[in-house]
Amino acid sequence: MSNSYIARASKIATRVLGTETLIMSAADSTIFTLNEVGSAIWEAADGQTPLRQIVEQKLCEEFEVDASQALADAEKFVADLAAQGILRVSETPIDGGEGR
């Protein structure tokens, strides 16, 4: 999954609230809140940047975390969000991944 591309799903609502990110899935009205690290991945999920690069550039540099552990945590996080239908994951870049 580390070379996968990730993009925010289209039928979601989202807003930054302080250091967290609020997300609501229109499908079932479930609300999610992401902490600062999760928010950094979410913001970078443009469909064009591989997950490994997001982790290296957004997490390792900004949060000073170990790269291999950060990548493992990010992969689990991405899998969780994908299972909830609020993040799309693909082995190739995702067109229209930016924004809504």
Binding site: A13, I31, F32
Partner: protein
């Protein structure tokens, strides 16, 4: 990642951060129905153009608004309503729509689904056309509204049937609830009739009488555990007395079609004007909004000493329309009384000031 029901936590966080988490935007007061209990003037007195609405939406997104209610009047009488909704969704708001549904057909239902609209609330006054149509004053309106709900549900949209109770339909809520169930919609009931926003309070005479409200409040299908629902709230502690009376003006805001800003749709105390001020100016600096925000439960003139205060649904807007935003709202006093059987402090006060004095003479010897 947290996935439990976080609404309370999120609301508290928004309050701590000073964020207008919820905004209600009426895009028009024009309407294709003429409901007998409506609190609005339906003339267009200069409603915002699409470009103005987009500007307001951008400002709300920047301020942190997440939940957006788009309503009216009837929003679908605006020909640009889908451009408004598209823009709101592009700004990633969670959008709920309030409508009578009359103008929603298959094509509109599909567009709403494709936009990812969070939910649609539709008013239904009765399951009987002769009652519903008499309230809306539009023949055939119930059939068209039901058709809209069917189209929306078949496209997977969440629909809530809102049943406003008044004297003309107070025996029909079972029928409306069954109708909602058949259509796969949620059901909500509201016995509050709001005075006209321009001051005419005569419409409140349509409120259902106390004894009928009691029947509603004793219906376990509506309120769940009747004993629990009817229980008097525990005595107010310091936390209750220091709390805010409601979210209006704190984490919630209302914007009229004329770009005026109010704490809530039911609280016609103007706090700013988006045609001459930015939203952040109003949200951060409006003296009127600061006045609303300064009120704690302990500051409520009558209610702070009322036994219902910890459990009352008191609406500051209704209180304001009765003359004092710090005072009681008689509609909510009535609800607390009907729910529990115990008079509210507001009722006692009103009775004491209106009761005729009776001279008691010593009995003749």
């Amino acid at each position: 990642m947290k996935t439990s029901n976080l609404l309370d936590d999120v609301a508290q966080r928004a309050l701590d951060l000073g964020v207008p988490l919820t905004a209600h935007l009426d895009v028009t007061y024009r309407c294709n129905e003429r409901c007998v209990h409506c609190y609005l003037n339906h003339d267009d007195r200069g409603e915002m153009a699409l470009s103005e609405i987009k500007n307001v939406l951008r400002q709300l997104a920047e301020a942190g608004t997440f939940f957006l209610v788009i309503s009216g009047g009837e929003p679908f009488v605006r020909k640009d309503v889908f451009e408004i909704l598209q823009y709101a969704r592009d700004l990633t708001f969670s959008v709920k729509l309030k409508t009578n549904g009359i103008l929603i057909r298959e094509k509109e239902a599909e567009r709403l689904r494709d936009l990812g609209i969070e939910g649609v609330q539709i008013s239904v006054y009765s399951h009987r056309p002769e009652v519903h149509d008499a309230i809306t004053k539009v023949k055939g309106s119930l059939a068209r509204t039901i058709r809209a709900i069917t189209y929306l549900r078949s496209r997977g949209l969440k629909v809530t049937v809102a049943n406003v109770l008044m004297q003309g339909n107070m025996y029909d809520y079972h029928g409306v609830r069954d109708l909602a169930l058949r259509l796969g919609a949620h059901f909500t009931i509201d016995p509050t009739i709001t005075p006209h926003l321009e001051g005419d309070a005569s419409v409140v005479a349509k409120r259902i009488p106390t004894h009928e409200l009691q029947t509603v409040f004793r219906d376990s299908d509506l309120v769940g555990d009747v004993a629990e629902f009817s229980a008097l709230a525990p005595a107010a502690d310091a936390a209750v007395m220091e709390s805010f009376p409601c979210s209006a003006g704190h984490t919630a805001i209302y914007i009229s079609p004329y770009a005026e800003v109010f704490p809530c749709v039911a609280f016609p105390f103007k706090v700013g004007d988006l045609r001459s001020q930015s939203f952040s100016e109003i949200w951060q600096d409006s003296p009127a909004l600061q006045q609303v925000r300064s009120i704690r439960v302990k500051d409520l003139t009558t209610c702070s000493g009322c036994g219902h205060v910890a459990g009352c649904t008191r609406c500051p807007g209704l209180a304001y329309m009765e003359g004092n935003m710090r005072g009681p709202s008689s509609a909510d006093c009535a609800k607390s009384f009907v729910r529990t059987g115990v008079w509210s402090a507001g009722m006692v006060e009103k009775f004491a000031s209106s009761a005729a004095l009776v001279q008691i003479s010593p009995a003749a010897s």
